[in-house]
């Protein structure tokens, strides 16, 4: 359950931003957790929601985007979609794949209110 630690990291980032920007309420928080980022999105959402009460995250709409996994196939010489590491190339069936996308694990942006 490293998602709990990640949720702590998210809270830290939002709190830092709240201090810097001086907003009173977080309305929407948008995250990005790529398919190959090693994170279970449901667990991450659960962890954030468990952590939220009493913090700046309370009551916010948490949106988590999941950029699709992508890899460079050495055999095909092109970028192909994969959903997890260890998948075969959907074109040639080979395993000479180097992930190039879907590894993101970021806080994208937030909507805040000053009232």
């Amino acid at each position: 359950m490293h998602e709990a630690s990640l949720a702590g990291g998210v809270l830290q980032l939002v709190e830092d931003t709240a201090r810097r920007e001086g907003f009173s309420r977080l309305l929407v928080l948008r995250l990005e957790a790529g398919q190959l980022a090693g994170v279970d999105v449901r667990a991450l959402r659960f962890a954030i929601e468990s952590l939220a009460p009493g913090t700046v995250l309370a009551g916010a709409d948490i949106q988590i985007e999941e950029p699709p996994g992508q890899a460079w196939c050495l055999g095909c010489g092109q970028t192909v979609p994969i959903t997890q590491r260890g998948d075969a190339c959907p074109r040639c069936g080979g395993y000479q794949l180097q992930p190039t996308g879907g590894q993101e694990l970021r806080v994208l942006d937030m909507q805040v209110s000053d009232d």
Binding site: M1, H2, S5, L6, G9, V10, Q12, L13, T17, E21, F23, L27, L31, L36, A37, G38, V39, Q70, W72, L74, G77, Q78, T79, Q84, R85, G86, A88, Y95, Q96, L97, Q98, P99, T100, G101, L105, R106, V107, L108, D109, M110, Q111, V112, S113, D114, D115
Partner: protein
Amino acid sequence: MCVVCGCADTGTAPAQVNPANGDLHFGAGAARVSVPGMSQARAIKLETDILGANNRVAQQNRAHFQAHGVAALNLVSSPGSGKTTLLCATIEALKTRAPGLHVAVIEGDQQTSFDADRIRATGAPAVQVNTGKGCHLDAPMVAEAFASLHTHHDHAHDHDHDHDHDHDHDHDHSHGHEHAHDHGHSSHRHSHDGHAHSLLFIENVGNLVCPAVWDLGEAAKVAILSVTEGEDKPLKYPDMFAAAQLMILNKIDLLPHVKFDVARCIELARRVNPTIEILQLSATTGEGMDAWLHWLDHAVGHDHHHHPAEPSAEAALRQRVQQLEAELAQAKAALSADGPR
């Protein structure tokens, strides 16, 4: 509801009223614009890595290790793969093979100091990090543990060869990475020849999932898999084997007694990580330990004179080509994601 025209006043942006002249300002909020259908909320763009705080400390650790001539390895596996036994056997073997090499261990476990006690019994300094409920070590934990190793064990190895510890002890090592900035001026000498003078094993919490995501500042992750576990582990826990530079198949002395397909295990590991290096050994019988010790020689950069093998040069070149192609693909993907402006 509005008493003048009956319109609903929900969903419209609240305007700020200038008390002097009654002017309405719909863009006085920090967003500086009025967005129809939205209250005066503002957007804050962050695009910040959630692991950023950890990764910054990991980079400091990495710089710190380099400056101190420390080759740090992050040992990851499931519980019971034989990490600690392998470490004890390795430390014993290094005593004769590389007597000048300083070896230290950071032991990560949720509870107890059993493992650190086992390491200390070999004579090597060890510090136990208990993570409590935590399922992995993170970079700040390692920074603190490394600082504590330094303060508590520096005096124990006066046999240290060219790494001259004549620093004055006002210099406070317990500050961990914070003093990484004044290395150039501190009174103790650092490694500038690219060779490590000491080896730091970081034994992570037994867990094949979470430690994959946390960079500790190590030179490499080493995944240990024992043949009692099942050959499909690399595919079941792909993130870990993708993050590892080396996979050690441990307990091979038990192969006659278990159903474990070594070839298939290797095939699956290469599926998730085409460049992963693989060693097979038994820490208990010592079989295969030589190759591991040799790998460690590489890790500390001491093997240049006795290992001029061409095949590995070709492999390295292939790996480099693959790396560059992946980088190219990544750059192209980034370019197309940005789209035409």
